[in-house]
Structures are given as structure tokens and as C-alpha cells.
């Protein structure tokens, strides 16, 4: 399958008062056209930073130290902010965030906000734009779109706001949608509706989705492939079923077995010893070694590279390199 986006050896740091925070440390990721690709990891592992970096959304203390982000043959890291804004954001790449409440402007109606996007990206008359808006809202299964357009964000529930965000993003027909924890703020029944909408859309239109989450259960609902991230690196790339049935990296294994399912009992619940390392002066070598049962001398020396262990399945662990 063709890659729509390939990240190669990305290194990114933040300058902080305490020193350099190495947020992304040699990240390699390939997202194939037409898939829903999950990016999973715990708080602070760099998954959201990865998403924002693809769109070139940087804080002022960000330092890109190396690497490439190849999107349809072009390196996005070599584009200026102006070029990214003109050629990529909106019509090629789009992003939705965790909290839909803070993504919408509270003082404008939904119509104002959708129309603003359409005016920039779609050359169309006012009447045509209105029809496009209604179609967009219908495509995310929002009831009574004409009335909804007149409403302000505070008049909508969280689930509706998140669907408006999707509609707003899809109005410009992007090829890659980055969804950063889109259902974390939603209730389960609303989350289920949202996942359904996203899955249906992905079937209907040609869109690739990078789904960033900490929730393994959501991954199992929606994703085709998954990348497991730990302390700024990808430790495992695997088809979704493989992550649950045959996780290989010690961190992935622990992550999968610490998730609560219907048959879990508290006594057998696995906990991962220790905690996520601080990324100012992170542990040398494999960043997982202080918490890993397989900890060996070579793990402390250099970080393991991603190696193929099966078709479509890569793992970054010295244990696997021996085999």
C-alpha cells in the first residue's frame, strides 16, 4: 500500500528553563493511503507533538533537530509557514483536537465559522457555500442542519461540537485528517456515535486518518494499523489485531495487559513498574530500559532500531534483533 505520509528520523526538542526536553527522539512512522492509523501512548510520550509537527504548528521554544516529514513526495519540514498555510493546511492536512469547546469560537455562529473556512478554500457563491455547509453537517449525521447553522457553540453538546469540527475540517476535502484524542472529552454513548460517523465517512470518501489516543479500546474499534509510542520514539508498528493478539515489544505487552476489559480481574491486572521518564536528561540507550524486565547491558548503550519481525510488523527491541 502506498504511503501518504512518512516521517523519517525526526528529532525535536523544547527549550525549557531546566534544559533541553527531548520530546521526539528518532521517530519513524509511515501512514498508508486510505487507512485509519492509530498512534497510542501514555501522557507525555510525544504523540500530540507528532500530530502538530505534521501541520507545522510549533510553539516558539520548539527546535527541530533533524529528520523529514514526507507528504506526497514533499518534505513538509522544508516548507515555510506561508507555504504550509497556502498549500497544505485545510485542503491537504486537517486536524481536530481533544476539546471541541475550545476549538470553536464562542462568539460566532456555526454558520459564520463554517463559512469562513469555505470562503478561504472553496471558490463558490454564497448560496453554493450554504449548500456545502448543509451537506457537510449532514455527512456527520447532525440533525436539522439549517437550524444548527444559526446556533452558537455553547448551545451545542460536546458530541455535536466535535461533529461540527469534523464537518468544518472535511468541508475543504483534506487527504489526511489528524484526530488528536477526539473522543476523550465525550461520554461513551456519544463516543460510540462519533466513532460510527468517522468510520462511515472513511468508507465514503477517500481520506486517511491518523488517530491519536491513549485508549486501547478505541483503537480496537476503529484502527487498521497501530504505532505504539514511548518517550518520543515508535517502539512497535503493527496491524491492529496484532497489537492485541501478539504484541512483541515489552512496553506494548504491558500496555495491552494493563487495559481493563470485561474479563479482567483486579488481582491479575498488570502494572508497569516505575513511571514515564522525564525527557530532560532521559535514560540513555533504549528509553524503556529502566522499566523493562529484559533490561540488558546493550539496552543502556544505544537505542534499538525498528526491525521487521513479520510482514507489516516492526519492533524496536534488542531482544528481537537476536532472533
Amino acid at each position: 500500500m502506498a504511503a501518504i505520509l512518512t516521517i523519517k528520523d525526526l528529532y525535536l526538542s523544547f527549550a525549557t528553563e531546566e534544559g533541553e526536553l527531548e520530546a521526539i527522539n528518532g521517530l519513524n512512522l509511515q501512514i498508508n493511503q486510505g487507512t485509519i492509523h492509530g498512534l497510542i501512548g501514555e501522557t507525555g510520550c510525544g504523540k500530540s507533538v507528532t500530530g502538530r509537527t505534521i501541520l507545522g504548528l510549533f510553539d516558539s521554544n520548539t527546535m527541530i533537530e533533524g529528520g523529514e516529514i514526507i507528504y506526497k513526495g514533499e518534505d513538509l519540514l522544508r516548507k515555510t509557514q506561508h507555504e504550509l498555510q497556502r498549500d497544505y493546511r485545510g485542503n491537504e492536512l486537517a486536524m481536530i483536537f481533544q476539546d471541541p469547546g475550545s476549538s470553536l469560537n464562542p462568539v460566532f455562529t456555526i454558520e459564520d465559522q463554517l463559512d469562513e473556512v469555505l470562503r478561504i478554500y472553496q471558490p463558490a457563491s454564497r448560496q453554493q457555500r450554504r449548500e456545502l455547509m448543509i451537506t457537510a453537517l449532514k455527512s456527520v449525521k447532525l440533525p436539522d442542519p439549517a437550524r444548527l447553522l444559526k446556533k452558537y457553540p455553547h448551545q451545542l453538546s460536546g458530541g455535536m461540537k466535535q461533529r461540527v469540527m469534523i464537518a468544518l475540517n472535511l468541508a475543504c476535502q483534506p487527504s489526511l485528517l489528524i484526530a488528536d484524542e477526539p473522543t476523550t472529552a465525550l461520554d461513551v454513548s456519544i463516543q460510540a456515535q462519533f466513532i460510527q460517523v468517522l468510520k462511515d465517512l472513511q468508507q465514503q470518501i477517500d481520506i486517511t486518518i491518523l488517530y491519536i489516543t491513549h485508549d486501547l479500546a478505541v483503537i480496537s474499534e476503529i484502527c487498521d494499523r497501530v504505532s505504539v509510542m514511548y518517550a518520543g520514539r515508535i517502539v512497535e508498528n503493527v496491524p491492529m489485531e496484532g497489537l492485541f493478539n501478539n504484541p512483541v515489544h515489552p512496553y506494548s505487552k504491558l500496555l495491552v495487559s494493563s487495559v481493563l476489559g470485561p474479563d479482567t480481574d483486579i488481582a491479575s491486572l498488570t502494572e508497569i513498574p516505575g513511571s514515564v521518564p522525564r525527557l530532560i536528561n532521559p535514560p540513555p540507550g533504549c528509553r524503556f530500559h529502566p522499566r523493562c524486565q529484559l533490561d540488558r547491558p546493550e539496552c543502556r548503550e544505544k537505542p534499538p532500531e525498528l526491525r521487521q519481525v513479520a510482514p507489516d510488523h516492526q519492533v524496536a527491541c534488542f531482544k528481537e534483533e537476536e532472533k
Binding site: 501514555e42 501522557t43 453538546s157 458530541g159 455535536m160 461520554d187 461513551v188 454513548s189 456519544i190 463516543q191 460510540a192 456515535q193 466513532i195 460510527q196 491513549h214 485508549d215 486501547l216 479500546a217 478505541v218 483503537i219 480496537s220 474499534e221 491492529m240 489485531e241 492485541f244 493478539n245 504491558l254 500496555l255 495491552v256 494493563s258 487495559v259 481493563l260 476489559g261 470485561p262 479482567t264 480481574d265 483486579i266 488481582a267 491486572l269 498488570t270 502494572e271 508497569i272 513511571s275 514515564v276
Partner: protein, 339 residues
């Protein structure tokens, strides 16, 4: 017709009593017909509406429901942090519904509380020592710095933390460590019941596992009773003995966790459970609960759930279902009343 229903109800009530007598679970805390109305600009909000439930000694009672359904308000009513608008709460048979504040002090020692976000439940400007010393000072449980220090070290160790954490400030600790300090503080007064309001939802899964195991262990050691609130259905299923399902201020179903999960009676319970994603690739969400929770300012006529209910009948639109007990199980649904 009426007699037969009354009879069957009596029979089932008798069966429940019998079962309860066999196990002799002591009821610690009981809510009868408890309600809370908050006055609002657009009208009164019935946050909690005629709730009946009891907490039995040594159990973990799980309360599930979606945001805004009144879970947290109900727990605050039971804790007497809020006053009830109606109904009655008893603690070991004693009416505490309108206990005046001097006597509440004693009650506070018996029931403590752990909130969702450890960052906001600890005072950021106090060291861990000072945060933990407060309950000892307020309730006069230990005197002098030395005695308090001994107690605090003991508490920290039982939580798997070290004595040196005492001199740290909350921001120097990880989220999981902070939550363990909050649990330690709740234990300081040697309570009978701990109310846990979403204690792990701000934590990562690996840390959540740690806190859950810790909670299970100290419950065993100290013979505690938990009132566990969560929106996470998998979590409630794993941890609880009995559960209550809340929707728009009412408890719609209540019973043993095994019974409710193997055969949920209320259509809302069924819809809620089927919306939960499971970490299993072969199982996908099939039925999705349509629509959204209506506003509690203007709830629908009849059964509050009827606009979203896949099994709605005409009676549901006009008449609110009673909380019916049958074979130890309770549900508020006309379907449950009928068959």
C-alpha cells in the same frame, strides 16, 4: 390483577429479605427517596431525583452514568456536603439528613472522599507533610509534630511511597504518586466508607492499574466500604460488587454486578453497555444509543429515557416508571414492571 402484582412484589421482597438475612450484610448508609433541586435561571434543575439505595458493609458499590447524570451530586448528598431537597439519609440507622454541623464533624471521620484530579485536591503551596497533617490536626488524631510524623510515614509506606516524599511539594510528584497521597489523606482519619469519585480517570492506564490494586489491597486490610463513581463501565465492572446505573438524576437499575452485566434489564443500561469499546479486535460496537441526554431543566414527560429508547411504548410517554424490585433486582422501566 392488582392483587397478583402486589403479591408477587411481596414475594420478591420477602425473597430479597431472606437472601439478605442469610448473608447478613449490614447496611451502613441508606438513601430513601433522596432528591436535590438546584434553582436556576431557566428553571429548576432536578440533579438527583427520588433515589433509593443502600450501601452494605464491606462492599464496593459502583455508580455509573454519563456526565451530568447526577453521580457526583448524589455522592455529595450522601456525604452531607450538600443538603437534600427531599428524602432521608440514614447512617447505621440514624437519620443524618439534617444533622447540624457540630455533629457532622464526627461523621466526616467515618466517610472520606477521593476526587478525580489529584492536582486540584492537594494544596500546591503545602508540602506533602502539611497536606497530610491536616486531617490529624482537624480531628485531633495525633498530637505534636513527632506523633504526626510517625503517622504520616506509616501512611506513605502503606501507599508504596517513601518517607522522603513528605518534604516534597505536590508538583514534584507524578500524577499516580499524587493520587496515592490523596488516598493516604482519605485513610488518615481511619474511615468506614471511602467515596471515590472517578479516582483514576486523570491517570494513564498503567498507573490506573497500580491505583486499583492498591485500593483493593487497603480495602481488604482495613475492612473498608467503597462508594465508587465512574463513567468507565469496564472499570466499574471489574471493581464493583453491586452497581447502580444513573440516568438524568434517577437510578434506573441497581443490582449485583454479575446479574446486571449478564442480563441488563433497563434499555438504557443495555444501550450504555453496548456503546463501550472493548480492547478486543474481534468485538466491535454494534448498536449505538441514538440522541443525547436531554436537559435536566426540561426533562421529557413520563420516563426520562423514552425519547432515546429503542423499546418505547405509549405508556412511557406519559407515566414515569416506578422503581420495581424483583428477585433481588431493581429497575425503573415499564417493561420490567410488565413481565
Amino acid at each position: 390483577m392488582r392483587d397478583s402484582t402486589v403479591n408477587s412484589e411481596l414475594e420478591s421482597a420477602a425473597a430479597v429479605l431472606q437472601a439478605e438475612n442469610q448473608e447478613k450484610p449490614e447496611i451502613i448508609l441508606q438513601a430513601e427517596n433522596v432528591g436535590k433541586v438546584f434553582p436556576g435561571k431557566e428553571g429548576d434543575v432536578r440533579a438527583v431525583d427520588s433515589v433509593d439505595l443502600e450501601l452494605r458493609a464491606g462492599e464496593i458499590f459502583g455508580l455509573v452514568g454519563e456526565s451530568g447524570c447526577g453521580k457526583s451530586t448524589l455522592s455529595r448528598l450522601l456525604l452531607r456536603l450538600l443538603d437534600c431537597s427531599s428524602g432521608r439519609i440514614t447512617y447505621h440507622g440514624e437519620d443524618i439528613t439534617s444533622l447540624p454541623s457540630p455533629q457532622l464533624q464526627g461523621l466526616r471521620r467515618k466517610m472520606s472522599l477521593v476526587f478525580q484530579d489529584p492536582n486540584t485536591s492537594l494544596n500546591p503551596r503545602m508540602t506533602i507533610y502539611d497536606n497530610l497533617a491536616r486531617p490529624f490536626k482537624i480531628h485531633n488524631l495525633a498530637r505534636g509534630r513527632e506523633e504526626i510524623t510517625v503517622e504520616i510515614v506509616r501512611l506513605l509506606k502503606s501507599m508504596g511511597l517513601q518517607a522522603e516524599h513528605m518534604i516534597r511539594y505536590p508538583h514534584e510528584l507524578s500524577g499516580g504518586q499524587k493520587q496515592r497521597v490523596v488516598v493516604a489523606r482519605a485513610l488518615a482519619v481511619d474511615p468506614e466508607i471511602i467515596f471515590l469519585d472517578e479516582p483514576t480517570s486523570a491517570l494513564d492506564v498503567s498507573v490506573q492499574a497500580k491505583i486499583l490494586r492498591l485500593l483493593a489491597r487497603i480495602k481488604q486490610e482495613k475492612d473498608l466500604t467503597y462508594f465508587f463513581i465512574s463513567h468507565d463501565i469496564n472499570l466499574i465492572r471489574v471493581i464493583s460488587d453491586r452497581i447502580g446505573v444513573m440516568y438524568l438524576g434517577k437510578i434506573v437499575e441497581l443490582g449485583e454486578v454479575g446479574d446486571i452485566f449478564s442480563e441488563p434489564y433497563h434499555p438504557y443500561t443495555r444501550g450504555l453497555f453496548s456503546s463501550v469499546p472493548e480492547p478486543r479486535p474481534e468485538r466491535k460496537i454494534e448498536t449505538v444509543l441514538m440522541g443525547e441526554v436531554p436537559s435536566p431543566v426540561d426533562p421529557p414527560e413520563g420516563c426520562y429515557f423514552h425519547p432515546r429508547c429503542p423499546e418505547v411504548m405509549s405508556v412511557c410517554r406519559s407515566k414515569s416508571p416506578e422503581f420495581t424490585i424483583r428477585q433481588g433486582r431493581r429497575a425503573a422501566c415499564h417493561l420490567f414492571e410488565k413481565d
